[in-house]
Amino acid sequence: MTGFSGKRLVIVQLSGGNDGLNTLIPFRNDEYYRLRPKLGIAADKVLRIGDEAGFNPALEGFRKLFDEGAMGIYNAVGYPNPDRSHFRSMDIWHTASNSDEYLNTGWIGRLLDANCPGSENAWYAMEVDDTLSLSLKGNYQSGFAVKDPQRLKTMMNDKFFDEISANQPVTEQSSELSFLYKTLARTTASADYIYEKSKIYNSARIYPQHELGNSLKQIAGLIGSGMESRIYYTSISGFDTHARQAEIQQRLFTVVGDSLYAFTQDLKERNEFNNTVILVFSEFGRRVKQNASNGTDHGTANNVYLIGGDLKKKGILNTMANLTSLDDGDLIHQLDFRNIYAGLLDNVIAYDHVKVLGRKFESTLI
């Protein structure tokens, strides 16, 4: 149907540290209600997906996906010695580093650096945003950031860029100069190419009026147009719910659930759902006990959601988070997130995860 063959990965980052326990509620667990007297979501309100868990009522989109067999959920995903600072923990998820390591390259950036097949295309990994996340920055290659193909094309249409490219110094004095001109050339060429592709097909579906809705609709359009990108990356922020968590999550979950559901419908229509895997994650979960402002504070392990038309593993894939055996009030991780990255690299990208993550992990089956 489209020019693309192979599997692709779409990553949706929930920025701010989404509270996993109020996303997928362990409604049978008394500890949950004891520690969240006001914030706990009543058992008869959750959208049940089995005997132990139910979604937040605003996540109808997720419930549908789960019931359709298009979702796999991992509980208590994290890493050893968790960091509760936003930027530090996000960096850890972006770079797939240990918590005491500081890497300058993102895991997807390193995939590009490793020269996996197809990565010579600037759009192999695309972020639908104006600026590029660390996840997609490599030492030699980087992903391509574009929020709106039309706008980027207009910006690159400035005759100025043609002029400077045309007047590039012939004898390269420095490799840095040559690197800059090459990056410019790639940007211009990519802007054109992506724009042309984006004109082929646009989704007519209604998505929530929100940046995430727009981004996913954009991505659906590009996928439907046959864009050859292997990885798409986008994010939605606002999840740092120290206060007024119920309202904030209600609003954001409606966007996330409905946007992702619409997205999967579009993919299905274009026959691109079976070869797509969507990863939904956040940089940390939140404390089990609610705080005094009807919110929760920074925590540790969290749920990770995988969505796709042909997942080998569906449903709730590991045990619900243990709420009694805590680390100073926080969840102890059961699964290292790098194992999921390894699974995505091995199974979806079909590239050896060791080359990207630096060592061997227990690659999860996707």
Partner: protein
Amino acid sequence: MTDSQKIAHLYRRAGFGLNIRETPDGALNDAINKILASNTQFDELYLEDEERVTAAELLAMNPEQRKEIIQDLAANIKKLNLQWIKIMGKAEGQLREKMSLFWHGHFAVRVRGFAQVESYANTIRQHALGNFRELLMAVSKEPAMLKFLNNVQNKKNSPNENFAREVMELFTLGRGNYTEHDIKEAARAFTGWGINQEDEFELKTFQHDSGSKTIFGKTGNFEGEDVIAMILERKETAVFITRKIYRFLVNETVDESRVRELAESFHANYDIPQLLRQIVSADWFYAPENIASIIKSPVELIVGLNRTFGIAYENPQPLLAVQRVLGQTLFFPPNVAGWAGGRNWIDNSTLITRLNLPKRLTDASQLDVDVKNDMDDITPNEVERKKSGNTFQCSFNWELFGEKFKEISDDKLWEALCIQLLANTMLLQMPDKLKVQAENSNRAEKIRLMAIYIVRTPDYQLS
């Protein structure tokens, strides 16, 4: 290379470039002496109108008051950021400011208390051109550092190794030049290094482990100061610092034998100006492979433009968005390892933002891109996306800029501007369209069109 070109290169590397009045005249040696000398006085960073609240006072407040103060704190650090950008642009002591930028990235710290940031920044700037021994000791005792690297939680009965580890790994010896045991024992020596009620360094004796320790194979009742002395004794520290300074001032690609040679004499006394003099006086500093070899950091780019054109800001706020979008915001390093630098600054988005920046500044328009939400904002949920809605409101001092070229005839203007503005010693071709535009413009317009074109080229991104 002419002396004039060398001087321009020197000012670019040992500072933020020539300012709107300066021309690269005279002898190179005089310029070197001047750059190394004009650094005794400096203006401290200080927010005059801001109320200072200690951590103890903050704790004593009610949540509403505290929230307000915390919001102010974030805003104040941004004010400090802009204050320093301004000082970098105007200061006589360019070398001090440039090296302070280096040390800020080296001793990278990120905390919420603006008074702590202020103190940390001024300590760095005070010792930036002094002795590395003293700089290291002073910064290690800064409340911001102790807080950021959790040393306030490093206590006799529950040690926290973070500070000890980062001091060795990132600030002095470098990875592989110490053992885990060294870190463990060093952490014990640093126990009790904390902060008092007045937000100053204080050794909390009851939290301090004064027992016998074995570090680097030596045994004794070592104190934190002793550990620092022992670290400095080791040559690896001199090599590590020298190599980093080399990468910052000379070239990302390091000449190891030169670094070793420089490190030898640096190790003898840790005198920073001596090391810098050796670097900027060396022939190889001016060798072709080291000219136009460094991609300017975002702060260098901004300050360089400000200095070159004498840019006056009615509203400097948008410069925060520029820093954020380009990946370097003063006082907000990504982590304790600082900024990677070099090609890491460049991706398709940052490159276009850099090339368009002069146009945005002169057009009084906005950045092309939206800034990603900064999770460190206290109420990140209230503004889901930071709109870079701040429009640039600034003016270039074209009249003064034009003075530099008053002896130059129209047909030599392009060449003169290229030489003045670019690190590249090769001449850029003037594009035909620009030629035509220039022909149909008056002198002032010609200068403006050509200058803005030149500083929008990839070539201008190089120092």
